[in-house]
Amino acid sequence: MKVLIANRGEIAVRIIRACRELGLGTVAVYSDADRAALHVRLADEAWHIGPSPARDSYLRIDGLLDVARASGATLVHPGYGFLAENEVFAAACVDAGLTFVGPTADAIARMGSKTAARHAAIAAGVQVVPGAVEPYAADAPEAAIVAEAERLGYPIVVKAVAGGGGKGMRTVEAPAELPAAIRAARSEALSAFGDAAIYLERRLIGPRHIEIQLLADHHGTILGFVERECSIQRRHQKVVEESPSPVLPADTRRAMAACAVRVAREVGYTNAGTIEFLVDATGEFFFLEMNTRLQVEHPVTEMVTGVDLVQWQLRIAQGERLTVTPEQALTPRGHAIECRVYAEDPDRQFLPSPGLVRALSTPAGPGVRDDRGVAPGFEIPVFYDSMIAKLVAWGATRADAIDRLARALNEYRVVGVQTTVPFFQWIVRQPEFLEGRFDTTYLDRVLASRQGQPFVDVTDADARDAAMAVALGAWFRAHGASTAGTGDSGGAWRRAARFEGLGGLGS
């Protein structure tokens, strides 16, 4: 039996590994830019599906179905992003006689509309974040939205109905900012999801983003897992996630998991999904939305429960019964923290840093999980998300996990492109992070207050070390030694160099 993996990067690698472990064949797909990508190299088969832009390759439903047919794949795993929450794709797979590794197209459609999802939560008796019940179409007059916002009260959040991953989302502090925010959210939503519809939600005070992973089989079993805390966000994008939450009491965990299971049951949910909640400063929790797919941050749950979520996705899709017990799912052993490693320069406002990975050394050893989608020699394309890897650390306690994460981050080396590793080295030293005192506004606030101050504090001794290393590196280069970063390797490298040389403001 073969699985078509309709994705790229680290999540395609993750799925390939789960397939291998289950004895399933793996069919990868790739665009022009990804011919030498790690997910291609690790798969049994790899099919070219078009030019580099995602809309011409990873988002082409017809092309993917052609590959499934030609390769003889009978299951399709969409990963996250791309077509993972596209009900048309899920339905097209089923119509083509394929098994879609995910919920039904109906469930995707229903929960994909943020407003319909709110209705489902309300029907399941779960409290939702206060806000507008109905969405505003692309051409709904601004005045009506402004009036509704006035009624709900500021601060308010403008959100894309089809949204996800922080796209098409704007927080508005005062009425004057609302019209610009509406325009920005609509434009971003249209370009990201092809749907400009938006809605409004009240911004809670001190909100934490805490979510419940679900697994649901086709035999009526729905399981809620120990929560994930995902409040460390930059521009509504999660950057650090952990499980369990540093603050959630055990009874709240059980109540939240029970609510999540009720919502899933309400919509006849199957396979893996996640219910996101906001928890306010008083500890009350509110349904926020459902992600009808595997989450980026699923490894932290796997590490504290020992349950392989991706294997279970594949097993459930093949009709197996869930045998994980609620106790296993809800009882974390230790603590796990994930950092999303982006090819971005944290010292230049997180500007993307695509280019050639000239050399790479990822951390290893006890309690470290290295989920990466790149290998040395790969040129990180400009066409896709800049997340190149996830680093997850496990420890017996949260403090142990942080110490281990800090250790692992110091071992991380990516030669050729900038990554967010220095930012994570900074955040693991912040008192708010160490003490678990943060909400979803924390990171943006502290970043704004830093006024672009670099994350890496270069002492005089560091500068001196760097100067010596550079001089010696130049000496070795002049003497014919090829260290990873000092040689020259043709086109790809020159392209990367051009970016670096021209980056940002010239003068």
């Binding site: 500007l351 993307p352 672009g452 890496v456 550079v470 070795f476 670096e500 940002g504 003068s507």
Partner: protein
């Protein structure tokens, strides 16, 4: 060999002299940094260089030679940008000089999502000029210093190559 190495605006004179059998595969070196002379052991690695100083301190440095004489040095706890032989990094230079024309170029290929200024606008330091979409993110490119916009060279929706001039601030 002697180099001028600029880290964060401070220029050091660094000279490298191999000792004994040191060659391309490594060995002992005498390194002079301004007026200090140190001896150390240096070896190329898969990532860059491994140094052991006279005090036995280990400096395992990942090195990336960037265009224009800049180098990126990754130490375990810190990433440092350095420039060799008088070619101080453009950014550092722009930061340091604190005056003159600023020419904003596209740092990567992408799509111009929004142009936030028009010619004649007064802009503050760190004020956004243009929003470019690349790697699925919208990235705001900002002015480094205050000034007046003298030219806007792109329109919203344009696809631009890396290096393309976007905005000029005087």
């Amino acid at each position: 060999m002697t180099f001028e190495i600029d880290v964060g605006g401070r220029v050091r004179q660094v000279s490298v002299e191999p000792l004994g059998a040191a060659d391309g595969s490594g060995g002992r070196f005498r390194v002079r940094v301004d007026d200090d002379v140190v001896e150390l052991d240096a070896r190329p690695t898969d990532l860059g260089l491994s140094l052991v100083t006279a005090e036995r301190r280990v400096v395992d440095a990942a090195l990336t030679a960037l265009a224009g004489g800049d180098w990126l040095v990754e130490l375990p706890h810190v990433v440092v940008r350095a420039a060799v032989d008088g070619r101080r990094s453009r950014r550092a230079e722009a930061d340091a000089r604190g005056a003159g024309q600023q020419r904003l170029v596209a740092p990567m290929p992408g799509r111009i999502v929004r142009v936030l200024v028009t010619p004649g606008d007064q802009v503050a330091a760190r004020q956004g000029l243009v929003v470019i979409e690349a790697m699925k993110m919208e990235n705001e490119l900002a002015a480094i210093r205050p000034g007046t916009v003298s030219e806007v060279a792109v329109a919203e929706g344009a696809l631009v190559e890396a290096g393309r001039l976007l905005v000029v601030v005087e």
